[in-house]
């Protein structure tokens, strides 16, 4: 039997910093920069290989809402179980019990098993338990995006109070908006290294500029992965800011390589701000193939897909049997916060789902 070979990978390396008491620190960085690993080390979920972490008090974490919840137990039982897991003693939980219940708004269902809760109730109760932890240091990993808009506002206000009360808050996020409203300072991580620690504006500035830097770097084909047998010379989203219901048109030019045998295809990913691929459009699916003997100019039109308002980035790939050119962050576009639907109603009608859709209801008596 042969053992699997390991390659060692340092997710976070050589990061040193001091955080004064009462600071609310935002931790920002691109996907895979080591934000979550850093938080895991600080909350002791993972152990470091080298170095020392000196914590001046108890650390409470809001890493994943509801992980300590058991669906078969009632709300009351789960408050005690989860509270103890987060490091509260029995007295502390008892003392905070009423606050927790009141904040979550599930008083009537305390003795119901949480598997019968709606997902909103579940998340609200879980968040309330974690939010009422009285630790000197509180670590939060993007959990504020839970519940309905009203509960989100309530949670955000609560977090702000926590930071003001002199406790230290560590907050990991992709969302620049919440970091600005919540944090008093911020650090920016890049490939496992601390590349900036200082003001929130400074860190976010750095964050944006490195995206632009990444984008600029990728514009030079030499920096891009792929065999290089063919390279894209241009890629652009025609309409840089569009409405959700608009078609998205992406134009691209590919250079020629007469020595290449056989035709090639193109694939395009559209990613949301968190790096999730919203849609993949592969030209093989429509039977479109390109001839490498001469330069090609093509365009992709995405119809019948209503993007949610927000910023999107576009990746383009030129492929044959392998990937010839892989151009990430080739372009970006904004979808304006307009409703594509005929009627206006409360926000919660549009709040769920990854994309919007063109739909109709019929009343069939």
């Amino acid at each position: 039997m042969q053992r699997a070979k390991y390659t060692s990978f340092s997710a976070v390396d050589d990061v040193s910093f001091d955080i004064p008491w009462g600071e609310a620190v935002g931790i920002v960085g691109r996907n895979g920069a080591g934000k979550s690993t850093l938080l895991k080390l600080l909350t002791r979920v993972a152990a470091p290989t080298r170095g020392v972490i000196d914590l001046g008090g108890r650390v409470g974490s809001l890493l994943e809402v509801g992980t300590g919840f058991h669906p078969e137990l009632t709300g009351r039982e789960n408050i005690y179980l989860n509270g103890s897991l987060l490091g509260m003693g029995r007295k502390e939980i008892k003392r905070r019990f009423d606050d927790i219940v009141q904040f979550s708004g599930v008083e009537r269902f305390l003795d119901t098993q949480v598997k019968r809760y709606s997902s909103g109730m579940y998340v609200r109760l879980a968040f309330s338990v974690a939010a009422h932890l009285e630790t000197e240091i509180l670590a939060i990993d993007e959990v504020l995006a839970v519940g309905d808009a009203e509960f989100q506002a309530k949670s955000l206000a609560m977090m702000r109070d926590v930071a003001r009360s002199g406790r230290t808050v560590l907050y990991v996020s992709h969302q620049a908006q919440t970091v600005t409203t919540l944090c008093t300072s911020a650090m920016f991580l890049e490939r496992g290294q601390l590349s900036y620690y200082g003001s929130v504006d400074g860190a976010l500035e750095r964050y944006r500029s490195t995206f632009e830097k990444f984008q600029t770097e990728q514009r030079d084909a030499a920096n891009r992965p792929g065999t290089g047998a063919l390279r894209l010379s241009r890629a652009a989203v025609v309409d840089q800011s569009q409405d959700p219901a608009d078609d998205t048109v992406i134009e691209f030019d590919v250079e020629a390589n007469p020595e290449l045998i056989g035709k090639y295809f193109v694939s395009c990913h559209v990613n949301d701000v968190n790096g999730n691929v919203v849609v993949q459009c592969d030209s093989r699916l429509t039977g479109t193939w390109f001839d490498p003997s001469e330069p090609q100019r093509g365009s992709l039109r995405i119809r019948s897909l209503w993007f949610r308002p927000g910023r999107y980035t576009v990746d383009l790939f030129v492929c044959q049997a392998g990937i010839l050119d892989s151009w990430e962050a080739a372009d970006a576009f904004d979808v304006l916060p307009a409703s594509p639907y005929p009627e206006f109603t409360s926000d919660e009608a549009m709040q769920h789902g990854v994309v919007l859709a063109d739909f109709d209801y019929e009343v069939n008596g």
Binding site: R44, L55, V59, E77, L81, R90, Q113
Partner: protein
Amino acid sequence: MTRTIIRPPGRLDMPRWRELWEAREVLYRFGLRDIVLRYRQTAIGVAWVILQPLASAGVFSVVFGQVAKLPSGGVPYFLFSFSGMLAWNAFNNVIGRSSGSLVSNQALVSKVFFPRLLVPLSGVISVLIDFAVAFVMLVVLLFLYGVNPGWPILMTPVWLLITIMLALGIGIAASAITVKYRDVAYFLPWILQILLYATPIAYSLSAVPGNLRWLFQINPLTWLMEMVRWSTVGQPLPAAWEFIALPLSAIIVFFAGILVFQRYERGFADVI
């Protein structure tokens, strides 16, 4: 204000006992969860605690006492196998509950920090409840059969403690190794099955042929069974050296298990 300093874990660390003590509420809540979950949405609920040991001792007395006619040292066979099963069930159930506990609490282990040793330890609580119920039944049976073991029955808590330490040592180590190698989940029940028959539980040691007896005598569980039977059903007093060897082996197994656990712990969140 408590100050915590985190350093890379060493090779042979003992757990931070103070931290374990401070987190004892977790142990209690886990135990409570296990008990509640076992009987919620069951029709006859807690009656299972009484039915299970009775049924297994019943099957044993029919198969081994009536069909195979194994000797039971002069004690009614049902009582004899019930007392054996009492200790074996505690041993077997602690191992069963603790060995798979880390993997079945994956989400917790990879997301939240708390002393992880509490996860396999918590299996003991519901086993203690089972034991208490079965022990009360044993006392009832002793009266029914008119057997009086005398004062040695007061030693039962000691044997219980030793059983739990032996089982926890194995269970704790197994839970940690299972995180990386799931093979343990297949291997362990098989070993336990063999142990059940290789230990004088359904029969007395005197039924073992002389040339094989040494094989049974090197098994700490054999010593345990002898002690339990001496304590509860009035079998002859075991040899003096066993009184030293048994607690010693329990302590060694228990701490060895903890060391194995500590050794594997640093990788839990990454590997599980």
